[in-house]
């Protein structure tokens, strides 16, 4: 009995040490993550410009429900995310498979494809603005040179084309990252399985669909979830490339929220932190709902398979 008490005492001392060790991390978590989160909720019923806060009750909620620009931006976000995911996941998987075939210079290519990930999105946004300029833009010059188009495409000035342009840029910027996830996942697959398949006479396509893809399923699931959440939160590159235009055609929800919270010097309005906070909660709910739906669907598919 005495021994047990000693053990208990020892455990409590260990707990104390562990507690002390964890204190800085907990303090950081509270200050940098939990407090700002609660702070957001605090202002959703206020008009707050960073200096003075005026209580407005449920007015921000009424405003949100009737805010066409916001709900259109939600639609654009879904559209953008869909375009991005449809292309970036298969492409990055394909690149990962190709570069995993122990071909010559694979590391060099891997590095090249990954490079856009480490370039600042604002810089790449500016570069793409030059590439996709209607007049004297490289993209139009190449396409015209190849005889694919007769007259220049208004990549950034046309409401029909701007989503294509921002999607191309998003794919270019994110391809290397997802490729790396898949490469890492493939490195964990057993060589024995591939050797058995080879002995059984499986060709490359069969190996990919019957072995690589099923064995990569857990990685694919995580990568898809990351891709969905990041696609819904993208806005920096769009802000530089098209400013959400033309005519709000590429306005995504987080760009609209950014504009509201930080205000603009050439605007008659002011920074609207309270309303922006409410919209950011709604945006978080939207992203969260999409992620939950994805997880349920993925689990159901697992059960079926």
């Amino acid at each position: 009995m005495q021994k047990t008490n000693k053990e208990r005492k020892k455990i409590s001392r260990d707990d104390l040490v562990a507690g002390l060790m964890l204190t800085p991390a907990i303090v950081f978590l509270i200050v940098c993550s939990i407090y700002p989160f609660i702070w957001i909720f605090r202002y959703i019923c206020y008009d707050y410009n960073g200096f003075t806060a005026t209580f407005t009750g449920t007015r921000n909620i009424t405003r949100m429900l009737g805010d066409k620009t916001f709900w259109n931006s939600v639609g654009h976000t879904f559209e953008y995310a869909a375009y991005k995911l449809i292309f970036i996941i298969p492409l990055s998987l394909l690149m990962a498979v190709l570069l995993n075939m122990r071909m010559r210079g694979a590391s060099l290519f891997r590095g090249m494809y990954f490079m856009p990930t480490i370039i600042s999105t604002s810089i790449s946004g500016m570069i793409f603005a030059f590439i996709f300029a209607t007049q004297n833009g490289i993209a139009n010059s190449i396409l015209q040179g190849m005889g694919i188009i007769d007259s220049p495409i208004k990549w950034l000035m046309s409401r029909d084309w701007v989503m294509v342009t921002v999607t191309i840029m998003a794919i270019w910027g994110g391809l290397g990252n997802y490729m790396l996830y898949f490469t890492t996942g493939m490195n964990g697959l057993s060589e024995d399985v591939y050797e058995s398949a080879k002995i059984d006479g499986a060709n490359g396509v069969q190996t990919f669909f019957r072995i690589t893809l099923p064995m990569l399923a857990p990685v694919l699931k995580v990568v898809l979830m990351l891709a969905i959440t990041s696609a819904f939160k993208d806005y920096e590159a769009i802000m530089v490339l098209s400013k959400g235009g033309p005519g709000n055609r590429s306005m995504v929800m987080f760009l609209y929220i950014y504009n509201l919270i930080f205000g603009s010097t050439d605007s008659t309005s002011q920074a609207q932190i309270g309303y922006g906070a409410l919209l950011s909660i709604m945006a978080a709910l939207i992203v969260g709902t999409v992620t939950i739906i994805y997880n349920i669907v993925a689990k159901k598919l697992d059960d079926v398979v």
Binding site: R13, M21, G50, T52, A133, D266, T268, Q270
Partner: protein, 477 residues
């Protein structure tokens, strides 16, 4: 035991590192009295070295968000620090990023400076919250200051004046928007001068585009607030403004005609096909890619130093109006004012610093360096205009003025400049755009007035040619 000791030491080290992140006001003061560490690093990164006040001198901390005039301002401050007999040492910090928030944070944290560049600080936040102090008493007691700066003649409601209190006195002025044009191309199109009527102006741009077959367009627009840089100013000089001062309501109905005319730039393929960032468009103008550009007096130094125009002669002309007649004032932007922060413990010395910054000697050199146009008639007569270069082309027009600040509101959806430009681009119907703006702006105004977040500005004797001269009343309903 050894393991426990190491654990304890690690914990202590982590806690110590956490505490070190905070720092104390004293530690900050050791580096720069009154300045915060990020501001210090900003100052150092701007090339300024952290100077130490001599023993016994009162250090007056000055924050500015202007970098373009730094060379002149720093040299004058050095001169002052070495020669003033008041025992004052000016310590200048330049904060070009997020200036307003940095200042608010410093004020709330008790590390605000004594003197700040005030022309970019909105009064509804910095004056109403008591961050800036009224300067009236200081001004009234100084006749020389009044003579040089004419503070009461250049006090603008909502900008530097609120309820009779002046929070900063302007020393300069940025002109309203002008048309900058490629003289060679315009003359080749058969025009000796820029038309004063908007329709003729558009016709001229069209002729240029057609004559040059894609090598040079008639006009170029930037993606950064394009409506503001020509059509909104054409509307202003035509007597059209977005706020109805007489009735205290937002009213965008007057813009219909100007939007219909503006649509021609796009529907008739007159304008340069891309609308890029301002500097990109300036570079394209300097390269002769389009002939007509419009912006304010900052273009004088841009097209002589930053992006010099070498291949052709460029001229400056007033913006056109709908009928060719001037029926309203053209908006100008007063610049370079200084304010005193209420937390300053050395307000008398802070005012002495402002007196120096706004002295005839300081302002004369500032204006002659071409940093801005003079705002006071006194300084206009004092400066040697042969020294200001192309800025002389942007001299104030008799119909230029400052509009009283319409109420700042919490607007839902897009700003009027975005919506009206979308109408020009034909992304939205003109009537729908006007109706949408009238609804959203007035809904927001009514709600904000009701909640007490803003007040309705009414000028019953409003004159569009002299918008700042009327009797201003703030209504709470």
């Amino acid at each position: 035991m050894k393991k426990k000791l190491i654990s304890m030491m690690l914990t202590a080290a982590m806690v110590a590192s956490l505490c070190a992140c905070g720092g104390t006001p004293d530690a900050d003061n050791g580096q720069s009295a009154g300045g915060d560490s990020s501001a210090d690093s900003e100052a150092q990164s701007s090339g300024g070295q952290e100077a130490q006040a001599p023993e016994g001198a009162t250090s007056i901390e000055v924050w500015t968000n202007d970098r373009h005039d730094l060379e002149y301002v720093e040299s004058m401050i050095d001169q002052y620090n070495q020669s003033n007999s008041d025992g004052i040492f000016i310590n200048l910090t330049v904060i070009t990023e997020d200036y307003q928030n940095m200042l608010a944070l410093a004020y709330n944290g008790g590390t605000a400076p004594d003197v700040v560049t005030a022309n970019s600080l909105p009064l509804n936040t910095f004056a109403d919250t008591g961050i800036l102090v009224p300067l009236n008493e200081y001004i009234d007691a100084d006749e020389t200051f009044q003579k040089v700066n004419e503070p009461y003649e250049h006090a603008y409601e909502g900008l530097n004046l609120r309820n009779g209190n002046i929070y900063g006195v302007y020393t300069g002025m940025r002109s309203g928007v002008r048309v900058e044009y490629n003289k060679d191309v315009v003359e080749a199109a058969g025009y000796q001068e820029i038309p004063t009527k908007l329709e003729d102006y558009i016709d001229m741009a069209k002729t240029i585009t057609e004559q040059n077959g894609g090598s040079c367009y008639g006009i170029g627009f930037t993606s950064s607030s394009p409506f503001e840089r020509l059509l909104e100013m054409s509307a202003q000089v035509s007597g059209i403004f977005y706020y109805d001062y007489v009735n205290g309501r937002y009213d965008f109905s007057g813009y219909k005609e100007i939007l219909e005319l503006g649509q021609r730039f796009i529907s008739e393929d007159i304008a340069y096909p891309d609308q890029q960032a301002v500097d990109n468009m300036r570079a394209l103008f300097a390269e002769g890619q389009f002939a007509l550009w419009s912006n304010a007096s900052q273009e004088a130094s841009v097209f002589t130093d930053q992006i010099p125009v070498n291949g052709f002669e460029w001229g400056v002309a007033p913006v056109p109006s709908i009928t060719g007649e001037i029926k309203g004032a053209l908006q100008t932007t007063p610049s370079k004012s200084w304010g005193i922060v209420s937390s300053s413990e050395n307000k008398e010395q802070a005012w002495k610093v402002i007196q120096y910054f706004q002295s005839e000697e300081f302002v004369k050199g500032y204006l002659e360096n071409g940093y801005c146009l003079p705002i006071s008639t006194y300084m206009d007569g004092v400066i040697d205009k042969s020294k200001i270069g192309r800025l002389a082309d942007f001299s104030m027009l008799e119909y230029e003025s400052v509009y009283p600040q319409p109420p700042v509101i919490n607007l839902t959806g897009d700003d009027y400049r975005v919506v009206l430009w979308n109408a020009v681009m034909d992304y939205v119907d003109i009537d729908d755009a006007i109706e949408d703006l009238n609804t959203r702006y007035n809904e927001a105004l009514d709600a904000d007035v009701a909640s007490g977040a803003t007040k309705r500005l009414v000028i019953s004797d409003y004159d569009p040619l002299h918008p700042n001269d009327g009797t201003m009343t703030y209504l709470e309903e």
